[in-house]
Symmetry: C2
Subunit: 300 residues, 2 copies
C-alpha cells in the first residue's frame, strides 16, 4: 500500500524506515529536503509540497508542534485540500488536545478519515518498528490505518473512538516521564551531596524497585551530567508540559507537580539550556544544592 | 548460627521466617507477645525483654521508627547493655540518618559491631527471602552480618563503610516511590476527568514505559481507589518523607517535590486518612479535580 510521511525528523525518519521495511510504498516530504535523501536511496518518492504526500491510502504527520501541524494541514494545497475522500490522516505528532479535536472536525467535514496515533519510544525504537502506538479514531479509520500502525509499532493500543483521547494519554505519559526526571534529580542531589556514588545509586535503583527503561535512561544521563547531544530537546519537553497543563486547565484539574515542572523548564531554558536534552531539568536540584554550577549545564 | 530479631511487625516476622528457613536458630522479641506465637510454633525461642534477644551472634532490629529503636537500644537492659563484644547489631528499620550515626558511635564505644541494613520489599517479599538489602558498615561487621543478610535478601548491595549511607539511600528510595504515587495520582486525575478508563490507562503505562512493579502496584491501587487494608500505612510514609527532608535540610539540599509530598501526607492524615495505605495521597489530585469525594477516602 502507498503511504505518505510528512516530517522527517529523527522520529519521522525512523517510522518511514519501518514502513519501507514492511513493504509499503512511501512518499516523503520534509521542509528541509536534505533529510529525505537517505530514504530516497532506499526507494522512497520524495516530494516538494505537503499536498503531494497525500496521494496514497494514508498520510502520516510527525512534526514538532501544533504550529507545524496546523501549517501542513490547513495551508492552501495542504492535507485538507489534497487528501482523497476515504483516505486517512494519521497524526503521530505530540500535539494539543484542542488541535486534535480541530483536525477531527475538519477531516470529518471533508469526508476524510482521521486517526490520532501518538507513540512512545525514542528514535532508534522508531527505526526498528518497535514503538508503542496509542491510537484513537472511528472503527473504520482505525481499520484503515492499522496496516501502517502495525508496521511502526510493536504494541498497538486502541483507546477510544475519539482521537483526542490518545493525545491526552500521550501528554500524560510525557508528564510522568518528566516527573521521573525531576524526582531522580532531587534524589541524586541528596545522595550526591552526601558524597555517595551517583552511578552506583542508579544501578541499585534500576536493579530493584525501578527496573524500567525510563529510570535507566534518565538516571544514567543525570548521574553523568550528560545532556548533549539532546535526544529530546528541552523546548520539546517544555511544550509537552505546557500542553498537559493546558488540557488540565480545560478540564479543571490542578496538577501541582505539573506546575513545578513548568517552572523547571522555564528556568532551564532561561539559563542557557535550550539546546540540552530535557533531562537537564534533573541537574537543577544539584545546582540548588551547590554541587553543580548553574546555567543549566551541570558538571562543568 | 544464632540470631535475635526485635520487632515482629509484618516485615520483621517475614525476615524471621526467612532466617528460620535458612537454618539459623532464632530468638524473637516483640512488645506485643502474641505476634511471636506463629514463630514459636516453628521453633523460635520467644523472650520477654529486648536484652534477652541479644545472646546470639547478631541481633536484628526491625521497628516502626526512631523512637522505638532508641528505646530498645538505649534503655537499661537494652541492646547496648546486652550485646556481647564482637557481636553485631543489624539495623533494618527505616530510621533517620542522625540516629544511624548515633548507633554507630554508641556500638563502637562498647566494642560491638553495627551494620545498617535497610531493605526494599513488601512483607510477602520478606517472608520469601527475596528482599533487596542495602548494607553499610565496617568490612568486619558486614562480613559477620553477611550470612543473615543473605538469608533475608535475594540481592545484597554493600554501599560503604559508613552505616548512615545505607539509611540515606533507603530514605531516598521511599521518596522516589512517593513521587511515583503522587505523579500517578495527578495523571489519573487528568485522564479520569476526561472520562477515560483509569484501569486501561494503568495497563498501557505498565506494559510500555513504566513496566516496573512499583507502577503496577500503586497504579492499580490508585485507579481502583483501594487504600484499605494498608500495606504500608500513611503515617509511616509521612515519617519517611520527614526523615528524607531532615537529611536534606542537614545537607542543605532543596527538594521541591519532597516539600510537596510532606504537605500531601499532612493533608491525608488531617482529613481522616491515617489508617489508609500511603498510596492514598494519590487520590488527592482527583479530589481537587472534583471527581472524588474529600476526606482522604476516594471512591466513596
Amino acid at each position: 500500500m502507498k503511504v505518505g510521511i510528512i516530517g522527517l525528523g529523527q522520529m519521522g525518519s525512523g517510522m518511514a524506515m519501518s514502513l519501507l521495511k514492511a513493504g509499503h510504498s512511501i512518499i516523503v516530504y520534509n521542509r528541509t529536503p536534505a533529510k529525505a535523501e537517505p530514504l530516497a536511496v532506499l526507494g522512497a518518492t520524495v516530494v516538494t509540497a505537503p499536498g503531494d504526500a497525500c496521494r496514497g491510502d494514508a498520510v502520516f504527520t510527525m512534526l514538532a508542534n501544533d504550529e507545524a501541524v496546523t501549517d501542513v494541514v490547513f495551508s492552501k494545497g495542504g492535507i485538507i485540500d489534497s487528501l482523497a475522500r476515504g483516505a486517512v490522516h494519521i497524526s503521530s505528532s505530540t500535539i494539543s488536545v484542542a488541535l486534535s479535536q480541530r483536525l477531527t472536525d475538519a477531516h470529518t467535514r471533508k469526508g476524510q478519515m482521521f486517526v490520532s496515533a501518538p507513540v512512545f519510544g525514542r528514535p532508534e525504537v522508531a527505526a526498528s518498528g518497535q514503538l508503542a502506538v496509542l491510537t484513537a479514531g472511528t472503527d473504520d479509520a482505525v481499520d484503515r490505518a492499522r496496516p501502517f500502525l502495525e508496521a511502526i509499532g510493536q504494541k498497538l493500543f486502541v483507546i477510544s473512538t475519539t482521537p483526542k483521547d490518545a493525545n491526552l494519554i500521550k501528554l500524560s505519559g510525557n508528564f510522568l516521564i518528566a516527573c521521573v526526571i525531576e524526582s531522580l534529580g532531587e534524589a541524586l542531589a541528596l545522595i550526591g551531596k552526601a558524597g555517595l556514588d551517583r552511578r552506583q545509586y542508579v544501578e541499585i535503583l534500576t536493579s530493584t524497585l525501578f527496573d524500567a527503561p525510563v529510570y535507566k535512561t534518565y538516571g544514567t544521563l543525570i548521574a553523568q551530567d550528560r545532556f548533549e547531544p539532546a535526544g529530546f530537546a528541552a523546548p520539546l519537553g517544555q511544550k509537552d508540559i505546557r500542553l498537559a497543563l493546558a488540557a488540565a486547565e480545560d478540564l479543571k484539574v490542578p496538577m501541582p507537580i505539573g506546575s513545578l515542572l513548568r517552572d523547571r523548564f522555564l528556568r532551564l531554558i532561561a539559563t542557557g539550556g535550550a539546546s540540552l536534552d530535557w533531562s537537564a531539568i534533573g541537574s537543577i536540584a544539584s545546582q540548588d544544592a551547590g554541587i553543580r554550577p548553574g546555567g543549566g549545564r551541570g558538571g562543568r
